[in-house]
Each structure stands twice: as C-alpha cells, then as structure tokens.
C-alpha cells in the first residue's frame, strides 16, 4: 500500500474531491428531509441552507481543478461560510477551514485523527457549544472519539462509523435543545431529531461509502504519507 509521494498526493486530491462531491450530492438530495426536521423544531431552512451551500461548493470545485487538498478544503470552508446563510454555514465552514489549514501537518493516522478532532473543536468553539445540547456536535464528537478504534485496523470498519453516526443522530431525539432555534422550544424540542445532527450523519455516511469503495477498489490513501495505522 506504500506509494511515492507525488502519486499519493495526486490520488489524495482526487479522492478528496470525490469525498466532497459525494457529501454535496447527499446533502443536496436530502434537502427536503433536513428542512422537514428543521420545520419541526426550528425555522425550517436547514435543508435549503445546506443545499445552497453545497451547490456552491459543487460549482466552486468544478471551476477550480486544484489538486492541493489543503486549498481544496479551505475553499469548501469559505464557500459554506459565505453561502449557507444560517448558523450551520459558519459551523460546518469552520470544520473545513480548520482541516484545510492543518492538512499539511497530517502525516499518519494519528495526526489525521488529531486534525479531525481539532476541526470538530473549531465547530464547537464557533457555536460556543458542546455535545449534549442537541446539535450537530452530538454526531461529530462521538465520531471523532471513535476514530482511534476504527482506524486501528489496516482496513477501517467504515460500517461501524456510519452506524455510529446514524445512531448518534437518532440519539438527539430524546434530547432537549440548548442551542440554536430549537432551544426556543424548550421541552417541546424533545421527541425530534436535530436537523444538524441529521445532516452530519448524512455527510458521514457519504464519506464512508466513498472511502469503502475506494478501499475495495484501489486501496485508497487516507494520509499524505501513505496509509499507516
């Protein structure tokens, strides 16, 4: 699975592009579902917001054929920040901005995990929030916490990650919202899935699908230095 650096970089850029496009497609095709969730406990725009943002991401990727993963991620972050139009824009945007900024430091699975954790921390500090408040963080944090275990094996158990995301999104249903519009509903926010948790889960699912496919067909590289567990 080792490869020369230039090849790795190129493969990586292409893979990252595929990942982002898969996430974009999944979010866009799920817009109505996300909006429906936000109608129940928010202002009903999460699907529209995410669709606007990821359509812009798609357009930006199409017009900029960069292979530089850091630049690509920064571009995704900036586009989401500028185009989403709701709180989720700067939140997801901060994830991608932080990851893009740190990308060059990733040299193995351990640094990959550390950078992803830092990116999730960036979301939390943007939102002045923490897990347990019925937000996207209730998916993102458990996911990052699970990464060391999942990435222990040479072939990561992506199905476990995907299931964990779905399960954590489900677990927001009985929670009481303490951030965002849903918090206005107090007790009445209980019994509904958080829209941001749902979109996070969708995005994780898309990522797992693409990565699983990539592993099966070509032994994709997760990190610039090759794919060292």
């Amino acid at each position: 699975m080792a490869s020369t650096q230039p090849h790795a970089t190129q493969t990586q850029g292409a893979l990252l592009r595929r990942l982002v496009l898969a996430v974009a497609d999944r979010v866009i095709e799920s817009a109505e579902e996300l909006t429906r969730l936000d109608q129940a406990i928010g202002d009903g725009d999460h699907g529209l917001n995410m669709k606007r943002g990821f359509e812009a991401v798609r357009a930006a990727l199409a017009s900029d054929p960069t292979d530089d993963c850091g630049a690509l991620l920064l571009g995704v972050g900036r586009t989401l920040v500028m185009k989403v139009g709701g709180a989720s824009g700067p939140l997801y945007g901060s994830f991608f901005l932080q990851l893009g900024k740190d990308w060059a430091q990733i040299s193995d699975r351990a640094t990959l995990i550390a950078c992803l954790r830092k990116s999730v921390d960036a979301v939390a500090s943007r939102g002045k929030s923490h897990p347990g408040q019925k937000t996207m963080l209730d998916v993102l944090f458990p996911l990052v916490d699970a990464l060391p275990g999942v990435l222990e094996t040479q072939l990561p158990d992506l199905a476990r990650l995907r299931d964990l995301a779905a399960e954590r999104a489900q677990a927001t249903i009985p929670m009481l919202a303490e951030r965002g519009r849903a918090s206005f509903l107090k007790e009445r926010s209980i019994g509904h899935m958080d829209p941001g948790a749902a979109s996070s889960s969708l995005m994780v699912t898309a990522v797992c699908e693409v990565l699983g496919e990539a592993f099966r067909t070509s032994g994709a590289l997760l990190t610039p230095a090759g794919d060292q567990p």
Partner: protein, 131 residues
C-alpha cells in the same frame, strides 16, 4: 475622531431596513450606518458577505458596533469579524442587545461621540424591560 459606526444584521431584509430607517430618523447622517438582512438568496437568514459589506460601508476609525437579531445572525457576524483584516478586527463588536431597540440606542450614543465600548454598553443596558 469620527463617530462609531452601526451595522444592523437581521434575518429579515425588511427588519434590517426598517431598523435603519428608525436610526436615521434619530441621528440623521451623523453616524455611519449600514444594514443587511437575508440569506445569499434573499430569503430569511443572514449572509457573511452581506455582513462584511455592511461593516465596510459603516466603517469608522472609532470602530463599528453590530446589532444582530438571533442565532445565525450572531454566528455569521462573528465569522465575518474573523475574516476582517487584523487591524480592523479588534475594532468591531457585536452587542448583546435587541436588534431594533439596540440599534436606535447604540446610534444615539454614537451620535454623541462616545467610544465603541460606551456605545456597546449603552445598547446592552437595554434589558427587555426598557422601552
């Protein structure tokens, strides 16, 4: 030194415009003022680009006080501030104050030549109870 500038950020373009009208009625052109509302498509929401433009329009050497309505408006405004050039970043504050009432109070304070901190404090003194 010039007066502190005021930026109004609402999810609703109408609220933003109307609040700006109310500010203008109180302070005329003596206070740099800009407003923005609506997501990048014009629907209810806020736009970081719109906020950055508004900060630029209302820019004052004395700084800029931003009034926001709720959640996303605040998060997007915080994001916009971080995207400013470093020399401007420290001279922009978001007031924890009601968007309409706070804008009028902040602008009235700015009109008197008060500094950014005083302008912010005046807007923030507005509890729900003061009308």
């Amino acid at each position: 030194m010039s007066n502190v500038g005021i930026v109004i950020v609402s999810h609703s373009p109408d609220v933003a415009r109307g609040a700006a009208d109310m500010v203008r009625q109180m302070v005329g052109a003596a206070v740099p003022l800009a407003y923005t509302g609506g997501n990048p498509d014009g629907g209810l929401g806020t736009s970081v680009e719109g906020i950055l433009e508004a900060i630029d329009t209302a820019w004052s050497e004395a700084g800029v006080a931003i009034l926001v309505d709720m959640g996303g408006a605040e998060t997007n405004s915080e994001m916009a501030i971080e995207m400013l050039p470093p020399e401007r970043r420290s001279r922009v504050v978001i007031c924890s104050a009601p968007v309409v009432e706070g804008a009028v109070m902040a602008a009235t304070e700015a009109w008197g030549g008060s500094d950014l901190d005083t302008v912010r404090r005046t807007a923030e003194e507005l509890g729900g109870a003061s009308k």
